[in-house]
């Protein structure tokens, strides 16, 4: 459960990004955060991940307040919280395989389990042809896929996707978003997607959409009932 209570954040000499924003995200759901460029979507994701401090209010992850976590707890939190950044953040000199395996190694996963997870991601994102190629020389679309595969490789409890469709054509976007949105059902991940173009996500089973407006997180009426544990199991 992710709970945001009365969150306020202002960058110096600018209008407040958030002023008393609140939001609750249930586990194993897909939540979309929308808003125009510069509205604070990325900042919100970074605050949830403990990378950006906030001025007041609380962000609770399973009742633990993010701003009160020590560096070790933050490190553990980031291991279990995947993030797909707009700029991909890949290691250009390392191969696609190595990039995908990195979060697993950081988490201390090795051997057969590591191979199984990496192979699954390679297959899921159809990266077989570039598996051994350095990430610096693959196409933009492939980089996006690797970034998502890397974030998903550890089956994170929470996955934050910042503009996942950036730099992709509509077909590639649909392909990737479909894989991404299957996560809550397949691996019990809580997915939060930040995008300025929510129309791309229409009809993809979003559980909640929130628009950043006037420093608030305003929910719309498209809330979808969460699948029960039994439904998730049978899916």
């Amino acid at each position: 459960m992710i709970t945001i209570q009365n969150l306020s954040k202002t960058f110096s000499q600018r209008e407040p990004l958030f002023s008393g924003a609140s939001l609750t995200i249930a586990p194993h759901t897909v939540t979309v955060i929308t808003g125009p460029s510069g509205s604070g979507k990325t900042t919100l994701l970074r605050m949830i991940r403990g990378e950006e401090p906030y001025d007041s209010g609380r962000i609770l992850l399973d009742r633990k307040e993010v701003s009160r976590l020590n560096s070790r707890s933050l490190m553990m939190l980031r291991r279990d919280m995947g993030m797909v950044c707009q700029e991909n953040n890949l290691l250009a000199e390392r191969s696609v395989l190595e990039n995908i395996a990195l979060p697993l190694r950081i988490k201390g996963i090795h051997g057969a389990l590591l191979r199984t997870r990496v192979e699954k991601m390679i297959e899921l994102f159809k990266l077989e042809k570039v598996a051994f190629t350095a990430c610096g020389v693959i196409s933009g679309g492939e980089k996006r896929k690797v970034s998502m595969a890397r974030a998903m490789s550890v089956a994170p409890g929470i996955l934050l996707a910042d503009e996942p469709s950036a730099g992709l054509d509509p077909l590639q976007t649909l392909e990737l978003i479909t894989i991404l949105f299957a996560l809550p059902l397949e691996e019990g991940t809580t997915l939060i997607v930040a995008t300025h173009n929510p129309t791309l996500l229409e009809g993809l089973g979003v559980h909640g959409t929130y628009r950043i407006r006037d420093g608030q997180l305003q929910g719309d009426d498209c809330h979808v009932e969460l699948p029960s544990e039994m439904e998730r199991f049978t899916l």
Partner: protein, 298 residues
């Protein structure tokens, strides 16, 4: 443990990717250790030679005028109990006179009127053992004057052994100072290459941190690279030193002879010294890497 294998692999890849700076560091460590090691090996050769030459070192003990033969025997018995005493020969006044006459040759007439009883009894003590044993026994003999009644003077016939001992000690001191200096210099070079490596990989390290890596996960490959530089430098240095010893030792023995060098086997480091050298070089790499990491915030 598996992470350690992974980090070792990454450290080796780092060597492969940027061979220039890493081999410069390895070369510096190797050159530095060759310098210090050469001084140490030369002192080792001198030590062997000194120990060999020290065998048979002689000390002359002059007894008081009129010392009775019984007292001479008692003093001999006391001295023979000391460590490293190989032989004690009694020089009677008559023998002493004959020796002096033989030494004076044509001028022997100068002492023709001197009574044989003018010469005191003396003892020629031959000490055998390594340099330290010889020196220890010589010092003990020196202290006997004043403790044992009947001894009037004690003189070391050969003082070269002690002098070589000083030279060896000075060489070892120079070697130690040199080793300390070159370790600092090598550490500085390793620190600089590690800093360069960190700076060139800063973006990569930030991504790894972004994924939730612990400081140990980030630092280990960098520290291993520093350790590897030290270790490889020491291995190269020992290889070069072995080559030098292998080629120069036969030349030295051919020049001065086995007997003078004191050994016919190659003078080189003992396994413990080799392991210590490798350990010190590796530790230098580790410390230098740690210092480099402390100067850059990842």
């Amino acid at each position: 443990m598996r992470n350690l294998f992974y980090h070792c692999k990454k450290a080796l890849v780092e060597f492969k990717n940027k061979p220039g700076s890493h081999f410069f560091a390895v070369g510096t460590v190797a050159l530095a250790l060759v310098l210090a090691g050469s001084v140490f090996l030369v002192s080792q050769v001198l030590r062997y030679a000194s120990d060999t030459w020290g065998n048979g070192a002689m000390v002359a003990i002059y007894l008081d005028q009129g010392t009775t033969p019984d007292r001479v025997d008692a003093i001999k018995s006391r001295i023979s109990e000391l460590e490293g005493i190989y032989a004690i020969k009694t020089i009677t006044p008559d023998v002493a006179r004959k020796r002096l006459v033989a030494n004076l040759q044509r001028d022997a007439s100068l002492i023709s009127n001197v009574e044989p009883t003018f010469f005191p009894h003396s003892l020629e003590v031959v000490i055998r053992g390594d340099r330290n044993t010889v020196e220890r026994t010589r010092r003990t003999l020196g202290k006997l004057k004043g403790i044992v009644a009947g001894i009037s003077d004690i003189r070391g016939v050969h003082t070269w052994n002690r002098k070589i001992g000083y030279i060896i000690d000075i060489m070892l001191l120079i070697g130690l100072i040199l080793l300390t200096l070159v370790l600092f210099a090598s550490g500085y070079v390793i620190m600089s290459t590690t800093r360069l490596s960190i700076e060139s990989r800063l973006d990569e390290l930030k991504v790894i941190k972004f994924l939730g890596a612990s400081p140990a996960f980030i630092q280990t490959p960098l520290l291993l690279t520093g350790m590897l530089q030290g270790l490889l430098g020491a291995l190269v240095a020992f290889g070069v030193l072995f080559g030098l010893a292998h080629f120069t030792f036969p030349l030295i023995t051919a020049l001065v002879g086995n007997a003078l060098v004191g050994t016919n086997t190659l003078v080189f480091f003992t396994p413990v010294q080799l392991l210590s050298g490798l350990g010190i070089a590796t530790a230098t790499g580790l410390i230098a890497g740690k210092l480099a990491l402390s100067t850059i915030r990842v």
